[in-house]
Point group: D2
Chain length 359, copies 4
């Protein structure tokens, strides 16, 4: 019997990709797709790639709980807080693609999102849906806080190095480049073709809301209080995120012999690649490239892959890590499906297997 | 048991898409991929989307015939002539993506391709692989001449109207716009990013080799000698072809009552759409859009679909037909897989089913 | 003494380009720039390329007439009607970039623009601002109806052939491809980067408002009632229009000896190019390319040039003409400045001389 | 009397832009343009934007010295070494756009360029052509080493902060994003439209040759040995470089009162912007944006401007500086013309004044 799933807030790009992936999935059946703005309209009007007869309906949680067992939420931040709560109360499972249940500390959430979190108790039940770090917890979770696109690329890029004592955890800089679909689907001047095309710019410098999310997870891994510089950039392409991550290594001279031995592997380029290869050896969606190869977003476009390359800068005694994902897939909807697969015991790659077109 | 297939000339964009589609296909097994230029190299070096361990090998027909039952040929025009012949002699089936077996009249082939056809007898055995017109013949064919990208978009666009006596068959104009992948993968100045980007141009005006292919098929349908204006254009995008087709209708006053009755349906917009809807009603890969909707190449990107819209210009008593395909799929490799499915009795949509990403 | 000019409706792309060109112009001084939406804001906020201290002001015609002698109007269609009237009454000169004074026949205007023309008498005073056809009239005009972008590319492309008796004037088809800036600067879903990028589509098939404008001018030239097929397309690039124009020639057999002699030159490719070369020999902004060369929009980007190439299709006895312009310059603001130069006896190329960047 | 200038190696993008700028310049006359590959061909064949009758000629230094007084060299690295020497010996002035005379230390040159420098004595005569740092020396120079594109964006971005004792000079990271024209004009697979479009990638991580150039200049300013992390990226657009620069500040607690007072201004956001504003107050081509505004490459496309914004990250006690240039203008040919203007006492903005198109 197929799992009944509903998609709430299905008219944006992550919604559209979710619908697509779930239609391609052998174990599920979409029973409802909501959109306040487009209620009543056929889905194919907004997604010409999806020639299906379904129509968007209004978000009516009471009605919806009858229809499905698992709910994907692509609702705006803040709105999601309460809908998750209601669905949880009704005994349903939720994969929330908003940021509302990602930040564990309600005060940090309030500081960055400028609104209080009304369900701090529920926050504790939510699992941060990055399978490479939390696969076991995801298996048993009832609420998944699906990670942000930038944090996915950043955390996967740094995680393998994070526990190495040679890493100067105060030095981490994440410089990310994103395609325009990351800005959503609401018409707005800066994202018009004639404005965004043939241009690159940084935005939200020092203030982007994905910063505390990256910091939280790196802090969990390292068990220290990690703060990072995170700078997002807008790139003239449809989809894809490339994150270039700079990590300083501590000065060898400061090391005790024990530390030197323990940390040794990260101080040398060849072992570095091996460290990453091993860390992700069993991961179906992380590909650590061979030494000297460069990730590019075109290679992961349309896929759930995260491609990673690591470089050791001998002159600066630092690491440069480059990671590439499709912001709408491993950075959003693909990861959501991966989480569902883990939660329900489906094959983890189900619905995410087909090779993607090139170019 | 899986069908063994080989891909000859697999390092270009159509080759790469063929490999991808065949990897996604449940009934086949790729047993060889050749590339003279890249022999010995792993496939993923040229196609970062395909993380497979296969390597390109040299084209050695004698050796290859042992390996597979069906051969996809993505070889240059002229080269294909002889390879098809050898494979045919060896009892193999061939889907030839070159132009070598598309033109039935060897003198027309020689006129446009500036080289004689050395196997005119074999030409007669080859079936033009446009399923919407030749599905039955394809079923029993041993050689498929897989249609060109522009001809596919043009012929599917005009075919339903072609037999209507109201159509002035001397008036047909096909104005096509193609993404840059249509120019192939060989480095050449006009197709460098900085040259092709932010620009549109016409090329090969009055001389493009797809002209006789369009004319041949329209002549077969109408049983008259059809000549067309065909003008291709280069557009700054990766993939997709949009063809805008102009067809003049005869003056009603010239019609006999019988003709008026027979031709009536094409003279009026609402019946026109219906005519197209009916013509393609059972086709899995042709979507005739609702009245007033416009095809765009983004809606068919990554799919084997051909989207078609028809407009009646009352002021000019003419039809304007717009068709959109992905040049590498319905215009090449997708159609090749569709042909294989028909030849071998697989479900016609097998390997071509997944919905494609958007945007 | 510098000519005082004002720009009304200066916050869109044609407004911005006008400001730029006029700032680069040695004979004029901008005394006012209006924008209802952005009144009070500094100009550079909307045009980061223009680091000037001017601010947008409200359209207050009574106040504005004191400020300038020549007014450029980039106002919406319909709004322009009355503003032109008021400025004219106040003794000012106007270059109107809207469509309001282009169509000479008020009933045709009403049919296509769905609103009556309230100043039919003034319509007669307005001169269609295409210098290549109306230079003398422009010199003495007080109201210039600055041509549309598509009509400029179409009319310049066909004009030299139009009087040739061999041309079948019922056969003209104009297939145009435009960059996204042609759609204006108002945020709207179809023109968002993620929607318009990597896509081509036709739009407004049989209904685009530039159709009657093309027809009017071709009718004036040929002194016959000309109707055309005109189909615009949206192309993923910032700026540029390429028009591909199809013109059937009459059958030689139908010609009288006199006609054959008169029309001869247009029936043969080599003479055809010469015909065009001669027609535009003295034009500073039309470049007829050498035989076999193709216009592309990148070559005219940032310039006031119109590049034209003509091809004779012997098989179809027809002409194919390709013309390329920058939609915001020769298709709008550049042409407006050219018109101003003619009106005021400035050098015709003043402000339009600098070579443009490539690529 | 006009200054006679020659351009050696004029068929690439920087050559084309130099020709264009010099044609737009009121004080110079181009007397020769060379290109080995295109010798004999008319210039407009390679640069459709330049409809001039000049033809490329061979590089024959003996013949060329008769023709001009100032030579712009757009020759490959290494080739330039000797040509500069010969022209210098012949008493000519040279602006060398290659890297051959940028690195003052011959051993550093050899380390990064893998070839010895044959004219170390001449190296000392060459002036690094960054007007904002070396205007006086440029005035009297006979050899100008025109800066690289990435170094221009990086050095202008960091220079104002560099002398501040609060800056941790070991912490500098330059993450740069460049349009594809930066890769030159030779056809090569990675820069084909279908490969570079819809993709972002890092390249030459830890090994790019612009690294020692950035380090040399920052070391000169700070009088310390500066090493930087520099990572270039390829972005799908024609032109433009955006550099995002990360600089750590020292911990206030470590400061002596004197240092605290001296360094104070860079420790606070509002003073920081002021510091930059003052540093560049008299510069015609550097625009420090108002607090909170973001540079984007579209705003400087087609201009010689460098736009800079500075951000203070309180949480990380560090600076983030974003600078934007047009890689072919302020990053190459525009800067070369600016240097010429300084050398010859022309107005510094001559030939570089026109506002650029938008979008």
């Amino acid at each position: 019997m197929l799992l009944k799933v509903a998609i709430l807030g299905g008219s944006g790009y992550t919604g559209g990709e979710l619908i697509r992936l779930l239609l391609n999935h052998s174990q599920v059946k979409i029973t409802a797709i909501t959109s306040e703005r487009s209620a009543g309209k056929p889905v194919y009007l907004l997604f010409p790639n999806l020639r299906i007869s379904d129509r968007f309906e209004h978000v009516d949680v009471k009605k919806l709980v009858e229809k499905a067992d698992l709910f994907f939420l692509c609702l705006p931040h803040k709105t999601s807080q309460d809908v998750v709560y209601q669905l949880y109360k009704a005994g349903k499972k939720v994969i929330d693609l908003s940021a509302d249940y990602r930040i564990k500390d309600p005060s940090v959430y309030e500081e960055w999102y400028k609104t209080p979190h009304l369900y701090p108790a529920l926050l504790k039940k939510a699992v941060y849906g990055l399978p490479e770090l939390y696969r076991k917890k995801i298996k048993n979770a009832r609420i998944i806080a699906n990670p942000g696109c930038y944090p996915t690329s950043a955390i996967l890029g740094i995680a393998p190095a994070m526990k190495n004592p040679a890493v100067d955890i105060d030095s981490i800089i994440v410089d990310s480049k994103s395609g325009v679909s990351g800005a959503g689907r609401n018409p707005d001047l800066p994202f018009m073709f004639s404005e965004a095309n043939e241009s690159v710019k940084a935005y939200a410098v020092t203030t982007h809301r994905h910063t505390p999310e990256i910091e939280q997870e790196l802090s969990f891994i390292s068990k220290k209080d990690v703060k990072v510089n995170f700078t997002p950039h807008l790139i003239p392409m449809d989809r894809g995120i490339l994150s270039t991550i700079y990590v300083k290594l501590k000065n060898r001279k400061q090391f005790t012999p024990a530390l030197l031995s323990e940390a040794g592997r990260a101080l040398d380029g060849s072992q570095l690649n091996e460290l990453y290869q091993k860390f992700y050896a069993k991961e179906p969606f992380v590909r650590v490239l061979k030494s000297g190869k460069y990730p590019n977003t075109k290679a992961v476009k349309g896929t759930n892959f995260c491609d990673i390359a690591v470089f050791f800068d001998k002159r600066k005694n630092s690491l440069i890590i480059v990671s590439a994902i499709d912001n709408l897939l491993k950075g959003a909807s693909g990861q959501a499906v991966q989480n569902m697969n883990i939660m329900y015991g489906f094959e983890e790659t189900e619905g995410l297997k087909p090779f993607a077109p090139y170019p």
